[in-house]
Symmetry: C2
Subunit: 225 residues, 2 copies
């Protein structure tokens, strides 16, 4: 058996994503704002001293919905249509030997609340309540590689849907949330392996369900519940 170590949950995220379905497939793909709330043991404003000098942060977090007892060497990435198998270390799939997620987010600010000092971040692809193990500053000189070649995940990035979001439904949200919902829907939040033109899909967002259908390359919002 492989040697195991213990890591502590230092914080949790509070986000608009209450369901796995519909979360952007990577960070930075939508402009949603989330809040990082520290666990009591780590609720110390000194630990954040100087963090406002950074525009971006790294989060190392737990794929809490994806824990498995065993691991599989290959996975089927949704970006490839869900039919092709890739090595798990060649993907960012949640189903990996250790359920560790890695996301860069924009730091919007530090805010004092009745749960201590919290971090407001933009673009996180984390489910509401996700445990966080570490927060680090993003250092462009070592972390940024604009010229990095991205293997198969480059291929399907440009694909997006036209979004038809009727004004009267859009008006149920504040303008910032409506813009984020547009971004999420344009990225086609349907599971890759479902190809059923008859089906009504639902995107959970901030406690609401946004119901939509897709025909061809157009997604139409039909109800908000």
């Amino acid at each position: 058996m492989a040697q195991a170590d213990k890591i502590k949950i230092i914080a949790r995220i509070s986000s608009v994503f209450s369901e796995k379905f519909g979360i952007p497939r990577q960070s930075g793909l939508a402009g949603n704002i989330s809040r990082i709330i520290f666990e009591e043991e780590f609720r110390n404003p000194d630990a954040l001293r100087g963090i406002e000098g950074y525009s971006h942060l790294w989060l190392i977090w737990k794929f809490s919905e994806s824990e498995r007892e065993t691991w599989s060497p290959t996975v089927r990435p949704p970006r490839l249509g869900g039919n092709e198998r890739m090595g798990v270390f060649a993907t960012r799939s949640p189903f990996r030997p250790n359920p560790l997620g890695l996301s860069s987010v924009e730091l919007v600010g530090v805010e004092k609340t009745d749960m201590g000092h919290t971090l407001l971040v933009k673009g996180a692809d984390l489910l509401d309540g996700t445990p966080i193990y570490d927060i680090k500053p993003y250092l462009a000189f070592t972390d940024s590689h604009d010229d990095a070649v991205g293997g198969f995940s480059d291929a399907k990035l440009s694909y997006s849907l036209k979004v038809d979001f009727p004004k009267e439904l859009e008006a149920l949200f504040c303008p910032a949330d409506a813009a984020v919902i547009h971004e999420l829907l344009a990225q086609d939040p349907r599971p890759a392996y479902i190809d059923d033109a008859e089906r009504i899909f639902g995107l959970a967002f901030g406690g609401r369900q946004i119901k939509f259908i897709v025909f061809g390359d157009t997604l139409t919002v039909i109800a908000v519940e």
Copy 2:
């Protein structure tokens, strides 16, 4: 007490850095080649299928020399001269609530050995034998932020030493290693808090000790043992 989770060691790195002292302060700062050797349980070539399509990888690893029972909310980053205290989450310091390291490396190749399929990577800032928890592809569209503002760590990056490496000592290394040693020395591997012009320092590299002194902005190699 904070909730704790278990994570498994999936691999270890084999690198030229046998001592903490002298390791580049971040990944990518020197062109040294390291080898990632999977633990037996994770030694499966299928898990690497497709990885050669990527130029860069992320390693999430263990600061195995920096484990502590308790955590301190502030640290003294060497880049600031070791005298100023910063919040631990505003630094990449090894002394953090969870000893997790994050490094991007260049993928040089996949190589079959008698310890299974291994990954050759360039620029890793990991001590020889460091345990690795996860390996992920670097995805430029979500991971690269050239415009990220880097807080205080931007400030001291341009600083480097002139290196005087006598030809007869340099000739003890193959040209590729000699070039890496030049890069490591130019980055001033002395501990930030030691300011002792009389002192002889040693850099461990691939089982050898490179002895040097520093006067002003010039580092002179005086012996290789």
